[in-house]
């Protein structure tokens, strides 16, 4: 499989998949924190492993990551990634408890994050599933706070057996005009066998 040979049309389709998912995710996030959440138009990145780490600040950047394995017709991995500050802001916004933080080994803070991740990622995937008619069920959320390189290689394991590049549908959301910014990064990394199903569902030929 050579991901670098994807056509513009195929990339547009993948971007649209990201768009629909992220739009729904932003809406549910907005309800969760009771604020307006905006999202950027998703980017479809075909990147080497090292470039993938650079997307979220380099391999040593400490990030708060919720990982979901996607089961169903088009398996893959979804990450919802926040910085430490963003994760704290999100926890405070939801709980109204300024003392809660991901810095301490606080179980409540972890479960708030996991639940928020569940809701937002669930919204992302259900929009995707409705649009493509492909079933996609998320696993329970897995939380890790560590170096980006260590965290993101988990999502590369399937694709790395067939390619030296990963295809990432990357959507950023953020709250506008507020001091207390909450941003989030959605990374959707389809497993290699999922591409043909995603393209077929949307009527695009696939012969990469």
């Amino acid at each position: 499989m050579d991901l670098t040979k994807l056509t513009q049309m195929q990339k547009d389709v993948l971007r649209e998949i990201g768009n629909i998912g992220a739009g729904n995710a932003a809406t549910s996030m907005s309800k969760l924190v009771n604020r307006k959440i905006e999202m950027d138009v998703p980017a479809v990145n075909i990147v080497s492993y090292d470039e993938m780490m650079e997307l979220i600040g380099g391999p040593e950047a400490v990030v708060v990551a919720l990982l979901f394995r996607i089961k169903g017709d088009a398996p893959g991995t979804v990450y919802f990634i926040l910085s430490l500050e963003e994760a704290d802001a999100l926890i405070k916004e939801i709980t109204n408890n300024a003392a809660l933080s991901v810095h301490g080994d606080d179980e409540l803070a972890a479960s708030v994050l996991q639940e928020a991740g569940n809701i937002v990622t669930g919204a992302y995937l259900s929009a995707l599933a409705d649009f493509t008619n492909i079933t996609m069920q998320p696993s329970v959320p897995y939380l890790s706070i560590d170096m980006a390189g260590a965290i993101l290689t988990v999502g590369l394991l399937e694709i790395s057996q067939v390619a030296d590049y990963a295809l990432i549908i990357d959507a950023k959301m953020n709250t506008a005009y507020q001091a207390n910014q909450i941003k989030g990064n959605f990374l959707f990394i389809p497993d290699p066998d999922s591409f043909s199903k995603l393209f077929a569902a949307l009527g695009v030929t696939y012969d990469v």
Binding site: M1, Y49, D50, M53, G58, P59, E60, V62, L67, R69, V140, Y142, L143, S144, I145, D146, M147, A148, G149, A150, I151, T153, V154, L156, L157, E158, S160, Q161, V162, A163, D164, P192
Partner: protein
Amino acid sequence: MMSKLVSSSTVVKVGIADLNVTKAPNKIRTSGLGSCVGAVIYDERKQVAGLAHVLLPDSKLARQDNFNRYKYADTAIPILVDQLVDLGARRNLLKAKVAGGAQMFQFSSGTDLMRIGPRNVEAVLKKLKQLSIPVLASDVGGHAGRTIEFDIQTSQLKIRTVNKGEAFI
């Protein structure tokens, strides 16, 4: 102005599924090892060392034709040894230090790929044993990401984690 001594020593970086070799006074480093394994092989007296950042255990997993041989433990380690020998290392006097192979997420169930960290460690150790390269120190497993840097002059491997800071093996 920087002194010549300082500026002549650089840190050689190794990416994911990558390897490199260098000589003292340089150091060699790779960042953000999770389930990946960093294998350092060196000749202490000749002051040369190399580092492989291995992503997967076995090239039999490869489902592509021209795959990157630096990606798999069984193919990367012999290439690393050859490059070291080309740089002046003696094949029969090589030693190794190994770090990485963590499990970053506590998956409740899953495929074999989910426990890739321990499998990477096993594969690297097996290959080193086949090549009769003794492993003098290792820091493997656990649940934390590691950044490692090998100082060729002292043969010390510095390991940094987010929660525990720096340690040397």
